[in-house]
Symmetry: D3
Subunit: 129 residues, 6 copies
């Protein structure tokens, strides 16, 4: 249990940032929270095997949407678990989401985040380090 | 995160009411607990899009069983996540349960309830409000 | 391969009877086709372990609907694979279908029937004979 | 069984066109085979509810790839079953595919196509006509 | 809720013992933690219907590996939910694991354990007591 | 479609050999049928990436059982789709089978074999050649 496991959360609404951060921390996950897709992609490119899952809002402040961030994450690691968190953009998921991803409709309860992350990681193959 | 999400729990045993209520509240879900199938159906009919999942015991005090309540809930909302909680009636589930439901065998642990609710809601399409 | 495997098909439209019968026969399944729910239930009660799957139309000529036949079949054998074939009654499936069943929307192609039957039987536990 | 069910196949290699066409026809599916993504999109836009599944090669002769065609199909019908057929582009599926799609790796056997189409259609909700 | 539900955890690393024990206890599960496969098998043989799930490390101090313990548990109860916890031996799972088991790659978060146990138990048929 | 795809079938009963061979050939699969586990392992070791699925009987004439052959196949290729065909040994599957395998109970229909093979291959990642 000595190696830390990091999870990237991309979210620009600080209330939801806090909710997701608290829920994941209580579940035992270590998060790195960023407010833009650009920062998330920079982190993923800098250390492709460091992160074990991506949670992302769709409508972000920068150029990149959450759909873009997830695509980039999967190009870097085809097995990366992906969870989208959105209200307004939920109906774009069937055409813009990646395979084997989960969509959480806002508002959601903290337990939904923890279960979604755990389920996807429990199905994923062991990370190559 | 401003819109409340309600969950209906139908259970006439106050010990299990408390266990389920506490487990769901800790997971971040807001519950409305009723002791009879008749009350549950009245709530569902009065506000069909207000509730995001139904958890129901089978053997209830009134005329309606949990099997009846779940059928009525699915007539009002075909996508409604349904979780049955029972000990004695578990072997009736293959013939009386609705498709895509989960059966929790009593006694169950609080985490089983939270995981069951989260899993079903995470798979459901966005609620139409 | 010496023991015959029987499949019950409940359907009162002779065109669909023929289509389903031909498709299943080509797949290697032996069928017993009946035109009413009453006859299906009589066969199932007379030899509960003889049949390995039930395929049933919903709107039948007798008193029993396909929903009733499937419930009775599952009471006799809780593991019985169930496939409903319907056009008009498809929207009743979420409230009237049994768990782990498949609904085929009419019109369907012969290959859909064969795949549905094969999938459910391949998941079922070995029949107790 | 009177209403025809159409399936769109987008493929510019005539050998594979023939294999897929023959396999689906034998399974009872009626196909419309086109050689470019542009033609497929035109057909889908002209009659969004006519087609029940999309099978598409990835590398096509026109401007549009199979990834593009599937996205457009899902925008028109969020429930559309999607099957990709490819050899060279299989590793792009985790980042470019749509949710709940199937990837067939070339070379594939005819039975794989029929099973993939049947499985996805059997899970889909009834078409709105 | 009066009957206790026991879960067997086989793990010889006391740090992971504590993490798993605390996580399961918080989820409401009662555990019996043993440090060797031999002790786990003795408990299972002594009371085959007492335990509702097995969580086991792979590399243990005695003669038996976690692969052996899980096989023995499934011989005693073919429906027993099985969860392996390992780092080094993860690549042996496709050949040495039992069907319908989950592998947790170390290091894992407490929430992964709770979700894995809950998911498998929620799918299992009622225990025969 | 130019590269042949081979499937290994291990079966010492010539009647079932013929049934499985005919069913798979009609589905478009090319088979190599052997009568002992030893021969199957020799073929797999000689060309680990040549075969795309293993179908095996359990009780074979040589030293190796079907359980042994499947384990060896998964050690050589962790993603290898595995299908067991058995009557007498079905109840050993929960303890002796490999993860993500399918068990076909004898007697089975030809369509069950074709659907089982197609389903597992359609889920498998692209073969590394």
């Amino acid at each position: 249990m000595c190696t830390a496991q990091y999870y990237i959360v991309v979210e620009d609404d600080s209330l939801i940032q806090d909710l997701v951060d608290a829920a994941l921390a209580e579940g035992g996950f270590e998060n790195e929270i960023v407010a833009s897709g650009e920062k998330a992609v920079a982190l993923l490119q800098g250390a492709p095997t460091k992160y074990r899952a991506l949670l992302t809002d769709i409508n972000l402040k920068g150029q990149l949407t959450g759909w873009d961030v997830a695509k980039r994450a999967r190009e870097l690691n085809p097995e990366m678990p992906v969870i989208y968190m959105t209200g307004a953009a939920a109906d774009e998921w069937p055409s813009h989401g990646v395979p084997n991803s989960i969509l959480l409709n806002k508002p959601f309860a903290p337990a939904q985040v923890v279960t979604a992350v755990s389920q996807l990681i429990n199905q994923a193959p062991p990370p190559k380090e």
